[in-house]
Symmetry: C2
Subunit: 296 residues, 2 copies
């Protein structure tokens, strides 16, 4: 099958998983009419203005691959993952961080609700995500997610990203930033689905390595799109990495070598799927194709 | 026994629980020499500059009361509670929130490390707390804490507190703010110790009600001290509530009626301890005496 038709299949999968995510989010997140109204409103705004819902889809794909049956647990986890991702976006966009006024094609949360409410809405989404995960009764998933988000995960990537702005950095630093800032949560999304489905220990490691690989591909493509795509397509300002002197693969390796690196990592990721023998890994392969082929 | 000597006994208990908390924190929190260094440094700064360590002490007292044996679980929970409290202080002190330059007698985290690092250090402490709690294997404690912190807990209190600044508010609003902003986590600290010790369901409810009561007393006394104490004693600026037009009990009821209200709530809290029959509730009583008697 061609990459384009694989990506198309992945789009259909993401759309259906996305619908499940949004329906579930609407079930769990309190209404704007509930006190504290402004906070619930800000949380709903940030969560429900759209997005690819990639992380919940990866958790679902992994859960299904390991024979998880439809359950409330996977729905809780899918919502938690989207909340954790959204929490990170809200805080990243703040003036003292990346200072981005637009996100997903709309004004950023702090532009609409102010900085204090944006910080608290991010905090509340992070905390609510842990509440939802705790309701699966699976403490191992709580630990997996907390590790992927903490100083040795996403937050660690974010601080080094900010501290590296405007400086000349080496490839090792960009690798560090991209793995921690982006790949760690993508990896944890796949592992979450696997844990909830009761996957075997060795299988957890294979899916983890696949996730790490495509997570890095995702971020390199993000860097490339910031140069080659348009603000309309992405829903956020393009060209901002160069303007801010961000530590990216294109900045360190150049555009062509970055594209080559993405293909290399893509191939390495797929190799981990071989470990699953003759089990059907098509959904993972399709999503990987979408991640490297995507133009937004 | 006199209130003063009960408070003295509580001080000794807090000192010993505080030592266990600090020793454990030093075990768990990564060193400043570990990447990302600036973030670990900010987290250690905020956590280790002191404080009463009241929440871990309450968890320990409750754990011991319900016959919990010394274990890693209670140490993990004590550290998690102090991290969650510190996370809330760091974010509360930010310029767009309460804009406080001093905390625990030292410059606030954002004054030392900048706003971006302060926000991320708060985020990281919140996330790390959930990691530590997950390591107890007890998903019910994760849920208890997440509920006490979210929009229907601490964060909910914080947003209404900020939104009420400079406005004329009624007693119901002050009750809402104080219960959510402060009492919810104090209540959850006691419930955490009880859950880890395997307390019975009805006992959980009694200890919860006691915690809610003394949590409210704690915040009313805080309001009173902001008027009657000194900056040197408190380690943070006094008189700032009036200056900022904060919704406090003294602002709504006046100073004398606030003191009366504290005593009323104190007595109501103690009544819940009667439910434990002839079991020895001295540690709870001593801590309650300290909370109402404290001058800092």
């Amino acid at each position: 099958m061609s990459m384009a038709s694989m990506a198309e299949k992945a789009m259909a999968y993401l759309e259906s998983a996305g619908k499940l995510t949004e329906d579930s989010l609407k079930d769990y997140i309190p209404e704007e009419t509930e006190t504290p109204k402004s906070l619930h409103s800000a949380m709903r705004y940030a969560l429900l203005i759209g997005g690819k819902r990639l992380r919940p889809a990866l958790a679902l794909a992994s859960y299904e691959f390991f024979n998880g049956k439809p359950s409330e647990s996977i729905r809780l986890a899918m919502c938690a993952l989207e909340m954790l991702h959204t929490f990170s976006l809200i805080h990243d966009d703040l003036p003292c961080m990346d200072d981005d006024d637009f996100r997903r094609g709309k004004p950023s949360t702090h532009k609409v609700y102010g900085e204090a409410a944006a910080i608290l809405a991010g905090d509340a989404l992070c905390i609510f995500a842990f509440e939802l995960i705790s309701r699966t009764g699976n403490a191992a998933v709580v630990e997996e997610l907390a590790r992927s988000l903490g100083t040795k995960g996403m937050i660690g990537g974010q601080i080094i990203d900010i501290e590296s702005e405007g400086k000349s950095v080496d490839l090792a630093t960009v690798d560090y930033i991209h793995y921690h800032k982006t790949a760690a949560l993508i990896e944890a999304s796949l592992v979450t689905g696997a844990l909830l489905a009761g996957a075997k220990k060795e299988d957890l490691e294979h899916i983890r390595e696949f996730g790490k690989g495509i997570g890095l591909v995702f971020q390199i493509v993000d860097d490339i799109l910031d140069i080659e795509s348009s603000t309309e397509k992405l829903g956020k300002k393009t060209g901002s990495d160069i303007k801010k002197g961000k530590a990216t693969y294109p900045a360190v390796l150049g555009l062509d070598a970055s594209k080559k690196k993405a293909v290399e990592l893509y191939n390495e990721s797929l190799a981990f799927l071989e470990k699953f023998g003759n089990r059907n890994t098509d959904t993972f392969r399709n999503i990987a194709a979408l991640i490297i082929e995507r133009s937004y």
